[in-house]
Subunit: 415 residues, 2 copies
């Protein structure tokens, strides 16, 4: 078995070919990979059944078991995802800028793959197919390190896709799957400077923080979302309720769901009593400050810890604030800079909120649930960056590339 | 005295104001800062004299003492640099992309400052003024950690500039200068996740590697340059010699200077003998493989270590290769991905070299010494990135920004 360093070296070598592999070959490979997933459904589902049995034996929570589960429909979705990536524009080779200097040198700034990307992820086996598809299309070699709970499923998917990709002309070695389930494998992968160009952790806060703290190769931090919605005085409260209910309950476990609702003091009495009832009817546990507690039955007292917690669950904390400035202060203090929203009718407040809030996505009068590569019309998503270097917000194919400057001259030297 | 964490917290607070400070205020501040540098020349030069005395007492090398030295001319240059930055376009607020989705949501992708940038640098006191100027213009708060050898000079420059900036309307706290000369100050600065958005080390390989290895905040790796020039068979050897001499000798201590010359075997006998003499006449120590040694007198045998060494000095290693592919292999193995050059008359070779070499800047028929923000027409430079995330090659003002998505709707929720 290859060591992780050897796998990375093989990826580097493959990437030199993959970087100059044509779009046509890559797209045909993606379609072949989609077909292979379905053709080898039986092997993949058998492997997944083994993971499920293990997971149940270990007492894994139902929500986690559901993430782990594969079936025909989910394999179809993974195949559809690969086909969609085949249909997207290839960012590699795009000329993004350029100029001719007074001395006659021409400079062309051209998109090229990042190189070797490490993806470190948790229980969802679909990430294996998603990540392979997006990395290959953007000309990157990929090294996958999935969670131990899904090791059999991930191994099966990676094998099927690797075989199909190589048969379709993708350079051998472009897809590296780490079979070790030891944590030391992660530590090694994230310190392979000179071999790995970037790692992207996908999973919970614990995984992401461990990678950020332990990596010496560049990391793109993704998916930490403590998102707020602020309801201004005089807002359309019906609209505000619709947005708040959607942002909290449409899919509470994801990073763009709302965790804290901030309400202007002049809006609280009109807006909150009905909203709290509606949230509770939808199974949401409402926690709130003293004012909120007075406006709704069964509202638990929120502690300072609540303002700092990404529940990822049917729990919402509500705070009544004096004005927009207090809302901005609260957001600046607790936001993970993912997605923030104001519901207002006031032009100046809308403008100030968008100018002053430091986050990847700043909304006026819409649910934060839209922060997503597909929703944004980017055609794909490998994650949502919550850092500011390189990519911010939803990351699709162009975010998996860098560029190089091609300079052409006629013997120019520097004076 | 404030702790480094307190300084970073103050920078974060100031940055919220600085991010929305107008271009006019920033430009007027930069001009006032330039004037203050010259008005307080005496204090700054007195502080620098103290650093110089210390340096000499500690037996600092002449080249280092020269980097440390300030005089009227150098202060004039620093002031000119600040004035030039005032004249550059402000990247903050530029709309770089956008669209309207079928559901009516409009998305605007707008440039915003990175936030708080840490600059860690060595002996050159001019970096203090350069970094402050570029960070402020791009709306970023800056935390400076200079080398202990220049502590008096840097402290004086930072004080003069901070006072002038604040008097001109830059939010107090936007410029933070770390007075501690302990290495632990660096360790603390590069692990302040949540407060520091990015650190940029500027200096030698030791400093850069230490920051890359030790940082948990995002780093932009800069300035490691093991640059090659490959002379193809049938190239214009007069042009090739001019380019090689320029790339090696025009300023050997900088990162875009050539360290290794690769020569096609069919070019070696015609090209190398005269070139080696000319290099040696210019004081270059030539090291070479067996073929090169036969083609020139006084050529020291190159070891494997030579191919991996960034001399930053008047030393050049020369290797004769079988063909373009061997040159590409050598570059792939030893390059730091900074700047690489081919000298050729062959169109296919030129195209293949630019496609296959993985580096920030890939030249045909021009000196690698052009890799520089000013030479590239970017108007400024805070460093040359040799990593692939965020920025690659020369970094100017836009490279000190990120963006946010501003999404405006009319009550849209996700289905």
């Amino acid at each position: 078995m290859m060591s992780i360093r050897e796998q990375a070296q093989a990826a580097v070598k493959a990437e030199r070919q993959l970087a100059v592999t044509s779009t046509k070959v890559k797209d045909e490979a993606l379609l072949a990979m989609a077909a292979a997933l379905l053709a080898q459904e039986k092997e993949i589902l058998t492997a997944n059944a083994a993971d499920m049995t293990q997971g149940k034996a270990k007492g894994m929570r139902q929500a986690m078991l559901d993430r782990l589960l594969l079936n025909h429909k989910r394999l179809e979705e993974m195949a559809t995802g690969l086909r969609q990536v085949a249909g997207l524009a290839d960012p590699v080779g795009n000329v993004v800028d350029g100029r001719t200097l007074p001395n006659g040198l021409t400079i062309v700034k051209e998109r090229v793959p990042l190189g070797v990307i490490g993806i470190i992820y948790e229980a969802r086996p679909n990430v294996t197919a998603d990540a392979i598809g997006l990395c290959l299309k953007s000309g990157n070699a990929v090294i996958l390190k999935g969670g131990s709970e899904a090791i059999a499923s991930n191994t099966a998917i990676a094998q099927v896709l690797t075989k199909a990709a190589e048969a379709a002309g993708i350079p051998a070695g472009s897809i590296q799957f780490i079979t070790s389930t030891e944590h030391s494998a992660v530590t090694e992968l994230i310190t392979l400077n000179g071999l790995v160009d970037c790692v992207i952790p996908r999973g919970g806060a614990g995984l992401i923080h461990a990678v950020v703290r332990g990596a010496s190769v560049p990391v793109i931090e993704t998916g930490l979302g403590l998102c707020h919605t602020y309801v201004d005085a005089g807002a359309d409260y019906e609209m505000a309720a619709k947005i708040a209910i959607n942002a909290k309950t449409q899919r509470p476990a994801v990073c763009n769901a709302m965790e804290t609702l901030l309400v202007h003091q002049d809006a609280a009495a009109d807006f909150l009593p009905a909203l709290i009832k509606e949230l509770q009817a939808k199974g949401v546990e409402v926690r709130g400050d003293a004012v909120t507690q007075k406006l709704g039955k069964g509202v638990v007292a929120a502690t300072d810890q609540d303002w700092a917690t990404e529940y990822d669950d049917l729990i919402l904390s509500i705070k009544v604030v004096k004005d927009l400035d207090e809302a901005l202060e609260h957001i600046a203090r607790y936001s993970t800079k993912h997605s923030e929203c104001i519901v207002t009718r006031n032009y100046e407040h809308a403008r100030k909120f968008q100018q002053c809030v430091d986050a990847a996505c700043v909304y006026v009068n819409a649910s934060t649930r839209f922060t997503d590569g597909f929703q944004f019309g980017m055609g794909a998503e490998i994650g949502i960056s919550t850092q500011k270097l390189h990519a911010r917000g939803p990351m699709a194919l162009p975010e998996l590339t860098t560029f190089k400057y091609l300079i052409s001259g006629d013997g120019q030297v520097r004076a």
